[in-house]
Symmetry: C2
Subunit: 348 residues, 2 copies
Amino acid sequence: MRLAVIPGDGIGPEVVSEALKVLGEVVPNAETTTYDLGASRWHSTGELLPESVLGELAEHDAILLGAVGDPSVPSGILERGLLLRLRFELDHHVNLRPGRLYPGVPSPLADPGEVDMVVVREGTEGPYAGNGGLLRKDTEHEVATEVSLNTAFGIRRVVTDAFRRANERPRKHLTLVHKTNVLEYSGSLWSRIVEEVSLEYPEVSVAYSHVDAATIHLVTDPSRFDVIVTDNLFGDIVTDLVAAVTGGIGLAASGNLDISGRNPSMFEPVHGSAPDIAGQNAADPTATVLSVSLLLDHLGEKEAARRIEASVAFDLATRDQASPGTTTAIGDRLAALVSSNTTPRPAL
Amino acid sequence: MRLAVIPGDGIGPEVVSEALKVLGEVVPNAETTTYDLGASRWHSTGELLPESVLGELAEHDAILLGAVGDPSVPSGILERGLLLRLRFELDHHVNLRPGRLYPGVPSPLADPGEVDMVVVREGTEGPYAGNGGLLRKDTEHEVATEVSLNTAFGIRRVVTDAFRRANERPRKHLTLVHKTNVLEYSGSLWSRIVEEVSLEYPEVSVAYSHVDAATIHLVTDPSRFDVIVTDNLFGDIVTDLVAAVTGGIGLAASGNLDISGRNPSMFEPVHGSAPDIAGQNAADPTATVLSVSLLLDHLGEKEAARRIEASVAFDLATRDQASPGTTTAIGDRLAALVSSNTTPRPAL
Ligand SMILES: CC(C)[C@H](C(=O)O)[C@@H](O)C(=O)O
Ligand SMILES: CC(C)[C@H](C(=O)O)[C@@H](O)C(=O)O
């Protein structure tokens, strides 16, 4: 297993180091190559993602990324030039974001119920296409456009993936989240494709929710969701809310998948680089550890993936929620749990 | 005071009727003209918003709208052809949505704290411009575009309105909600205008939040927000979440304002037509009553507006939350409270 590792900025290196510690317990012979990308490289060389590095990354089985972003870099530079560029160049069309409220984890909701969903967010088109422009810049008559680009090809592959996942889950339920009553063109395309693909998955029940209504449901009745499929921007918004409801972005994992297998998929915590707590051994590495579990699952190492997730579930159920420990302490605990002969049985 | 009333579909007529009952207590001589627009007119005549009706509506001081939408009408027809057309034709550039958690009202959040914010949502541009199209429709090579149109003119007027409101509030705090790290063009324009207008309001402190992070804050720490200014689509999403957090869309009021005064502003509850409970005297008219309070405030009837809001606050603090009563019972209670000589002092 050849992994490319991009620790990145802020707490990125700290959480990645713990995640690799845990990985080492299940895949001792993983070969890792670390790539120095992010704020400091940009500051010292002006480089964001050199072609040669992109080429090397593409040779790996998967990529593990900590976080990129630093207040010293103007907003958007690293996001668009590095993170989104990786997702687009490597055709990460399925942005997979599980949202599960693990037993023991406090939710900001008074009565969250059981929450166990997966958001399948489109990752390579929509309003993220970078298509737009400015007219009469810096004048009183400036016009700024952003073009959301949506293709039948791009939507079908992510919708198919979402149905496939729904079909494998006990509830077999899929919700399309969009804003079809306003975004008439992209809305009609998304709706058509969901309808067409649904014919191939007769056992999967299909629902639709406008994105605004979905935010209401996510705080009043999150249990209703099983698999959500949605566009790049709605997915960005909805997955942060899902993360908040299920205990915070400190626990939220994600995978940027090229389902075709042509390019390595990339796994990263949903949280950012949190520069305010960087270097203090204070960040919770759990989201990154769970991202490693997604990585292993994606590479077919189902048993190893399951062991890591079960260990995290056990730790979450038993940890002191108010002070779960330092970054390294949590990493040590998780590594010990994963390595222990008997996989712990979490109270699920 | 000449008011145009559009009861609309579903529960629209029921909640509007109660709201007018309450209005009658503070402005006994209001002249109202009712316009039959919505699903049934569309079914019987194919008309959504005839030019002649639009012309008549424009002659009024304000418009009160219940709700439009019915399952018998394909999604989007009434929304785009009637509701959004009204907002755009009447240049309702400030979509004003207060978000206040009234004492006594249950929130889905375990620990909401004090929530009292106002969202100033742009109402006439952004992704709502209806600009987009389809290429190779109904084929495997279909492309759908949606163009978000943003102008310095359009943004400046709504941002200025938001600063003006923030400046009049005790906390004098304004948060721009956008996604500037991804939507580079519209993001830079919004940021520039907020920066420029902020110079005219030195006492207003300014914060920025990405829309995804804003959804997290809204469920973990909603008290941080005072005035939010944001684009049409982000405002749509965020205000439903704000409504959910402050007790539900059954209580959320809104105003679609043409600040220039050239066109009548339009006031409506944030909720929809709720066809499932229509005709059952079961809908809560409170959001529509609060919309009347916004209407009166906008028309300069500050004292009448305040009396209605105080009566609602009192009723919310004292009502049986589990069964607040029928539509007419709530309307009767609110009308009685408003008409009583001594304006009730809500426990604020
Ligand atoms: C950092 C940003 C570009 C990114 C996104 O918008 O996709 C982040 O919010 C995420 O959800 O991974
Ligand atoms: C019905 C729909 C067109 C409308 C919108 O998207 O603005 C509604 O959601 C709202 O918020 O008033």
